[in-house]
Amino acid sequence: MKRTQNHVIDLLFPLIILALFTMCAFSVISLSASIYNKQTSNAEETYLQETPLAYIIEKVRQNDNEGDISIITKEDTQVLTLHNKDYTTYIYAYENTLKEFTIKDNVSFTLSEGHDIIEVDSFSMKEEDNLFTFTVNDKSASVLVRSAS
């Protein structure tokens, strides 16, 4: 009977294949994790930019009557004012949060009293010839008020 001879490669080769398999498995898992991470952060970034812009523009269009929309400065902060009959809605960024406050005219309030809408890193606005431009987290959107003459 012929005697079978053992070689190191008999053990080594399956081990190499196993190591290759493990490496590939880890690569695919880490790749999928990084893609998922990128997509969720993209979705969050889009949400944080789009939502406040869409909200503010919708608010401006809702209150689009002549002279009812303006930008004022209160406590060194830009505040968008939307006047509606006896009430005024103030929209502004305070401590990295977009806030809204609706209150009867001529009643004083502080910026900290507003209701939170959404978190924002930066928020600015400008008005030029009735064209309002809002910038939230480096993304801008413009809206021309209907009441412009």
């Binding site: 290759l20 789009e50 021309l144």
Partner: protein, 127 residues
């Protein structure tokens, strides 16, 4: 011993083959999802820019319109442009103007978003 060893090897090879097939399918899906996500992001930016441009046109502030954008949608020079805003006036009556506002991707050579827009000059009525 040799028989057992070769059986293990065959088993590993089969597992590796199945893994490779699954890996190929998964990677294809990952690449597609990544590309879809980028397209959705670009479309989002394009819609916002086109709508803002329409408002700027209506406000007759053509000078403040930005035409060139880099891959991160920041304004840039013509040479570095990845996305280009194209304004085409299609019809013009006395005060009513009709134009097409679109965002074109230089790299992919395709239009990302296009809007047919009518506006009046000398007035800013929506009617």
């Amino acid at each position: 011993m040799k028989k057992r060893s070769s059986l293990l090897l065959v088993e590993l090879m089969i597992a590796l083959f199945v893994f490779c097939v699954a890996c190929g399918v998964s990677l294809q899906s990952f690449a597609k999802s990544s590309s879809l996500s980028k397209d959705a992001d670009d479309l989002n930016h394009a819609v916002t820019i086109v709508e803002s441009t329409a408002e700027q046109l209506k406000a007759t502030q053509k000078d403040s319109i930005s035409y060139y954008y880099d891959s991160d949608w920041n304004t840039c020079n013509e040479d570095e442009a990845y996305f280009v805003l194209v304004l085409q006036e299609t019809k013009s009556a006395s005060s009513l103007k009709q134009c097409n506002i679109s965002i074109f991707s230089n790299k992919e050579e395709k239009t990302i978003y296009s809007l047919e827009y009518e506006y009046t000059t000398g007035g800013t009525s929506y009617e």
